[in-house]
């Protein structure tokens, strides 16, 4: 079945440093979504990418969808303590339920 792999599993950064998490699928995706889960909280939708090579920005967050629609990345510029949490990518191959990656847990040291 479809698998979505995410690296790294953990990332510790100093406040102000940049952070990137990568997501790779075993199959071509029709779309990819990113979610953020704060410690003790529930996943919250951040963004969806649909087009090959698509790049979207939300303030300090930049999301990319690969040309082959099999990989994606989330980059945070100048991390802040409010960025702490686990970031999940989730992909769908069509009209099927999303498959979530295992997530990248981000710690930000002030």
């Amino acid at each position: 079945g479809q698998q979505v792999m995410q690296i790294p599993q953990y990332q510790h950064v100093q406040e102000g440093e940049d952070f990137t998490t990568y997501c790779n699928s075993s199959t071509t995706l029709s779309n990819i979504q990113w979610y953020k889960q704060r410690p003790g909280g529930h996943p919250v939708f951040l963004i969806q990418l649909v087009k090959s090579g698509e790049v979207k920005k939300q303030k300090r967050l930049t999301f990319q969808f690969g040309e082959a629609k099999k990989n994606s990345s989330l980059h945070i510029t100048a991390t802040q303590t409010t960025d702490v949490g686990t970031y999940f990518c989730a992909g769908a191959g069509g009209n099927t339920p999303l498959v979530f990656g295992k997530g990248t847990r981000l710690s930000v040291i002030a």
């Binding site: 079945g1 995410q6 029709s30 779309n31 979504q33 979610y35 909280g41 529930h42 996943p43 919250v44 939708f45 969806q48 649909v50 999940f88 989730a90 769908a92 069509g94 009209n95 099927t96 339920p97 999303l98 498959v99 979530f100 990656g101 295992k102 997530g103 847990r105």
Partner: protein, 113 residues
């Protein structure tokens, strides 16, 4: 709108007991999902439903049952609880499959001892 609500927030079960986790959404979403999240791990799909009366298995359905008699409600039943079912359970809903964002409930933290 309350979004997706789940009850209870916490529960401790003894091995072999049964319980039902409740999930309700008020967004008139067709799709509803149950996930479990083990400590430090990702989300694993247990069951999902594409509409009232229709359910399907996800990645880890064993030991669970679901029903969907209304659009709003999607309860998850645990029969004969086992320690391996200790986890945080999230219910989610979406307008459709694929390119629709999922809205998650606050979760139920279940411990089986």
């Amino acid at each position: 709108n309350a979004g997706v609500t789940q009850t209870p927030k916490f529960r401790i079960l003894k091995i072999g007991q049964s319980m039902t986790l409740q999930c309700t959404q008020d967004m008139n979403h067709n799709y509803m999902y149950w996930y479990r999240q083990d400590p430090g791990m990702g989300l694993k799909l247990i069951y999902y439903s594409v509409g009232a009366g229709i359910t399907d298995k996800g990645e880890v359905p064993n030991g669970y049952n679901v029903s969907r008699s209304t659009t709003e409600d999607f309860p998850l039943r645990l029969e004969l609880a086992a320690p391996s079912q200790t986890s945080v359970y999230f219910c989610a809903s979406s307008h459709g499959a694929g390119p629709y964002e999922q809205y998650f409930g606050p979760g139920t933290r279940l411990t089986v001892t």
